[in-house]
Symmetry: C2
Subunit: 412 residues, 2 copies
């Protein structure tokens, strides 16, 4: 494979996570050191930054600030949710991207995101191949939802899982202090896959977590749910429930959507508000004191509770994307493969064709969900536990997080 | 002062905090070592445990588990919200308490809580004096609301403040990643006092916090609020708002209560839901994407983010209660006095008459709130900052918190 010299563009796309900037660090720091890469450009708001010619010169950043990206949540360069058209129908965006690539002699394109972002990445890769413009395109995985196909897990998931499990353990202590009893319902992100809601069961495995966990992989039955809650509340005087925001009835309609239609305008417009809807239903049925808690954005940006394993793997995936591209690889996403050496969890990178990854969702295996559809089985716990290990070395200033401050110098 | 020998009872009351168990540790560990105290009893669910003769023998606990109380959130012995009657009207409870005190030869009573709990403590103290039963009664302060009279601050406040500030800094990163803009509204506890909502401004002082902060010390004006949000959203493309759950209109009615009356049964019955109400109003007015986040119980049980200063002071207040009582003091609450030595924050305990403390609320000084009533001034920041310093030495097991596990052996 002959050496390919040129600039690289790196972009972040989709919902942010606690460690997407750690992947950014992996890409940027590795690219800045590599002699084949002449210039490292960061796209403002993902592919939109390319389309709008809004590119930051990452070489002008202070290396110490770049390193702080490892511990800085959310997308430091800005993100986007931008669906690329089918290039056979409308190739306007693709022509524009090619124009920008040519303008800056871009020969490497690294795109960090989830399912939709890998679709973007894949389409750009295929377009560049079609028009014969040599550019190595690599996807870097990211999603708290953990639903990317072909990889053991995704950077971002473990830190959110750890945040959820820890918060559940703490709320468990709090939600049972009175002798009057309480039902506590915790709403967790994950519209189609229940990886995050299932992670709440880690808290249960360590003695202080939800009694019931509902995942979107199986249909939700309100009557069964109420019977479950009532049974446990009668038994224990308390009941803690974790629900995925994406739970749905057998007809496919989201349970959370009932709210919007049933209220007079104060219902949440976004998906969410499920916890308070279920709290209300449980209150009416049981008369119990009920509290609904939505973990909301907190679960995906709680960098102070990130998993150091997740951070290191996020950096590793970014590094691997650059190193493989420089070595001649293109049209792939970096994925993870897990093994155990002397019982110790080991994670290595592997490469997956972008075509396979784009738009395919990986859900929790049905056999990891219990027969009653209100909890997860031990293999789920065994799967998640190694991923959440280690405390982040987040620097603090006056006991508050010191996040990266980038200069974001636009390329002229 | 002659030595008084006898058993002690310790109870926890009111809403739990991240460090109320640290105070419990201070009381219990000190009492267990003191030769004047013959037996250390823990009341199950505060004063209810005394009334119901449900007392734990704290001497039977493993010392290592007791020490873990320093890092375990919520009320390990159980809490209560129990309003004692005026003993001149109905002395049933007081007679029962005296009976239990005599049964176990209780000569020391330590009660850990906020305003209402200090009222309980005060009433019991005065009753015992009136009937001539020698028992030294000491209040140990606790409240995330920081609204106890006569003390510089209260254990529990700083840890909640740190949780709030850190979470705001993280959400700040997340809530501005898209180029489409967003208004983010964070609802914070504090029904009558704005100490906790004000603490969100710590995040702003460190470059990543709310643009607007609304406290219950001043009347809320919805039109002014909407104008504030609209101005900042137009200016910056984003707007982050922190609101106290207790904000109210000039007529005294809670802003959050509008929701309950306006909805068809899905509105929150408890105080709460304010964030989503305001989010909806802002959305209708501005058309912006809006997200409401309620920090809910998380802010008062987030022990992993506790302030080590708060933990140490909570322990100190418990120790001081026991030591002073053994030395002959009674009918007081332990409070804190702040000084600065060579510019370094120093906190010492002081003693306040229970009569003065019971039922008096300390609010944020009006001069610490800005003229526009949508933020706090620097003295507020200077007040809070020393309190949140230091990281807790929370032990973990497999990277999840290892909280205290008490045996809770009931006294026969």
């Amino acid at each position: 494979m002959s050496e390919l010299k040129g600039a690289c563009i790196f972009g972040q796309s989709g919902g942010p996570t606690s460690v997407i900037n750690a992947s950014a660090y992996g890409v940027i720091a590795t690219a800045l050191k590599n002699p084949s890469i002449t210039r490292v450009l960061g796209a403002e708001h993902g592919i939109k930054g390319v389309l709008n010619d809004r590119l930051f010169d990452m070489g002008q950043e202070d290396p110490a600030e770049l390193e702080l990206l490892k511990y800085t949540p959310s997308s430091a360069l800005g993100s986007c949710r931008y669906k690329m058209a089918d290039p056979d129908v409308d190739d306007t965006d693709y022509k524009r991207i090619l124009e920008i690539f040519k303008k800056y002699d871009v020969r490497y394109f690294f795109y960090n995101g989830g399912n939709d972002s890998m679709d973007t990445c894949n389409k750009i890769s295929k377009y560049m191949q079609k028009v014969g413009y040599e550019c190595r395109v690599m996807g870097v995985p990211k999603t708290i939802d953990n639903d990317l196909f072909g990889t053991d897990h995704c950077p971002g998931f473990a830190s959110a899982a750890k945040y959820i499990a820890t918060s559940c353990m703490e709320v468990y202590q709090d939600a049972r202090v009175y002798d009057t009893g309480m039902v506590c319902i915790i709403e967790i992100m994950g519209r189609h896959a229940g990886w995050l809601a299932g992670a709440a069961a880690l808290a249960t495995a360590y003695g202080a977590g939800p009694d019931l966990v509902y995942l979107p992989e199986v249909d939700f039955d309100m009557d069964q749910f109420l019977a479950d809650v009532e049974r446990i509340y009668k038994e224990k005087g308390n009941c803690m429930v974790a629900v995925s925001e994406g739970i749905h009835y057998a007809d496919g309609s989201f349970v959370s959507e009932a709210k919007t239609s049933a209220t007079d305008g104060f219902g949440h417009a976004q998906l969410g508000g499920l916890a308070s809807l279920l709290a209300q239903v449980v209150k009416e049925k049981t008369g119990a004191k009920v509290r609904g808690i939505e973990l909301s954005l907190l679960q995906r940006c709680g960098a102070h509770l990130a998993s150091e394993t997740d951070i290191e793997e996020a950096v590793m995936s970014g590094m691997a994307a650059v190193e493989n591209a420089v070595n001649g690889i293109t049209d792939k996403m970096v994925g993870f493969e897990r093994s155990y050496e002397d019982g110790q969890y080991v994670c290595k990178t592997k490469l997956l064709p972008l075509t396979d990854v784009a738009n395919t969702e990986k859900k929790v295996p049905i056999e990891w969900i219990n027969a009653a559809h209100n909890g997860v089985e031990k293999p789920f716990i065994d799967y998640v536990l190694p991923l959440i290990q280690g405390e982040p070395k987040l620097p603090k200033e006056d006991s508050l997080p010191r996040f990266a401050k980038l200069k974001k110098v636009l390329v002229k």
